[in-house]
Symmetry: C2
Amino acid sequence: MTTIKDIANCLGISASTVSKGLNGASDISESLRQTVLDTAVELGYTTRKMRGRDHRKVCLFVENMDYETPEQFGCDIILGFRQVAFRENFDVTVFPVTPDIQAAEKYDTFMLKHGFVGGFMVGFALMDDWMSQFGTTSIPTALFDNYIRKNPLVASVGSDTSEGIDDAIVHLMHLGHRHIALLNGSWHSCITEQRRQAYIDSMTAHNLPFDKGTMPYGYYVADSAKDHIDRLLSMGITAILCGNDLIASGVIDECRKRGVRIPGELSVIGFDDIPLAARLDPPLTTIRQDRSELGKLGFYALHSLINHIPISRTMLRPQLIVRKSTGPVPSQLSPTSG
Amino acid sequence: MTTIKDIANCLGISASTVSKGLNGASDISESLRQTVLDTAVELGYTTRKMRGRDHRKVCLFVENMDYETPEQFGCDIILGFRQVAFRENFDVTVFPVTPDIQAAEKYDTFMLKHGFVGGFMVGFALMDDWMSQFGTTSIPTALFDNYIRKNPLVASVGSDTSEGIDDAIVHLMHLGHRHIALLNGSWHSCITEQRRQAYIDSMTAHNLPFDKGTMPYGYYVADSAKDHIDRLLSMGITAILCGNDLIASGVIDECRKRGVRIPGELSVIGFDDIPLAARLDPPLTTIRQDRSELGKLGFYALHSLINHIPISRTMLRPQLIVRKSTGPVPSQLSPTSG
């Protein structure tokens, strides 16, 4: 086991200085403290507090995601996570993390410094600094909608995207649609790529036409719709599957401005089933993710990792919620002429 | 909610006869009782006992797998499952199921009749009668090493096969091997196909040669090795990845008979790390599945389904255990000449 003396030897400083760094004493510089912590992490040092059975602090990091109100995607994930954590006597800190924070401090250092025994990451993008560190982190870490290969201390939690997308496409096929687009969310996101692959797989399996033009990238916001809607409509698309409910709400708005009837002329499907979905006009057909259960699953996965059970991946089945934004294909574009 | 009267109306018999069928009274025929139970299941009827909070009986079905002693693959899975079930106050019945039993009675009927609120299936093959019923079962059911699409009451539990196989192939590559075969287990098995696909993906990713001849099917027993070993050796294969440890033990035996040195002339890797693996001569390098934790995960998944949490898939990371059955590639077949 790594000792304070090992860290001191490695850095060529005294053991008492290392102690000060580890304990956050005020009479050493912040940069030296960072070096001490970075080195402690590199050498696999754990504090007595971290090894103890009483120490049960975990951190839920949120990025690129709103979670302040129940209307927002992240809220129920956090609630579900907190609920199960509470039962298991863990303290949860919710920390809105930024690229700057990630650039300023290594993930393991951050966790060690604050005494967190595990992390749950929600809303991370592939290019985030910390993402590249999860392959070798020594801190139990569960990732929502992201997957890291081969680190037994990291688990992936999310929805079974391929089933959800296929359910939506089968629903549209039963309504006669063949020309179905995927208006996706942002580049550089694991979940965006999963949804794209699920669309490709399902369209291929059902022998439906698609190409690059039918699966544009956008952003996970309503405003993203206006950049794509005219082109998709001009291509003869009769149904749009959206990367999330916000994009779908944007599609509905843009169609209203153009006098395109939903679902008479265009069917629209969202993803997530945030509370807004049911209140849209027309109410949105969408692929529901049970965010509260996903949050609970996130804690379960993290708790397993903390107990040395190397969960790799755990997923929930999403559920297609059929409302009024999907209907039969417009007759001039029915499958017989399509 | 379906009532006894609904079942009676559907069958054109009296409600009291339905009651007798549901309660196992002795004064109606077994065939009528079967019909009553089948219909009750079809109509979604649940007994009060099944709805009650006290009723916590689950069944662990085993097929095609030995589990009587700790030496055998299934033993620790069952133990792990039982351990967690006990904590949660569930009774576990372990039931060795056969094709005949499956042919004689529908799965849902069997479960309803015996008052089981959930099932965990270990060792099932794709052609098993009950496998075709899991797509529509209304009984919470977790499957070890099998996957059923789109039924929110069915979950899949197993190891992350693709990582395990890739770890093994990377280990062999570092030892200079390029001509690596997969001596697989039985046809008609979900896990056999997963391992085959993982082998194909990994060999492709690392730009190593393979074809149908390098990935033969066999059976999950030691005896399977003798049918393939001569052909694989004559092809210039320098390492064999086996579908399980028993097949690997057979490869070692056959090599001894032929005077082929392991690992001097051939490297061998197993799958599972059953206790036998460490006692083989040479001790077997193998991809470890933590069967106790997999059993616990099986109960966790089943418990989640019983609580209406639609787990789709949950997996553990396997671990490559390096022992003495793998070594550097024989020099005459080193990568420079291969």
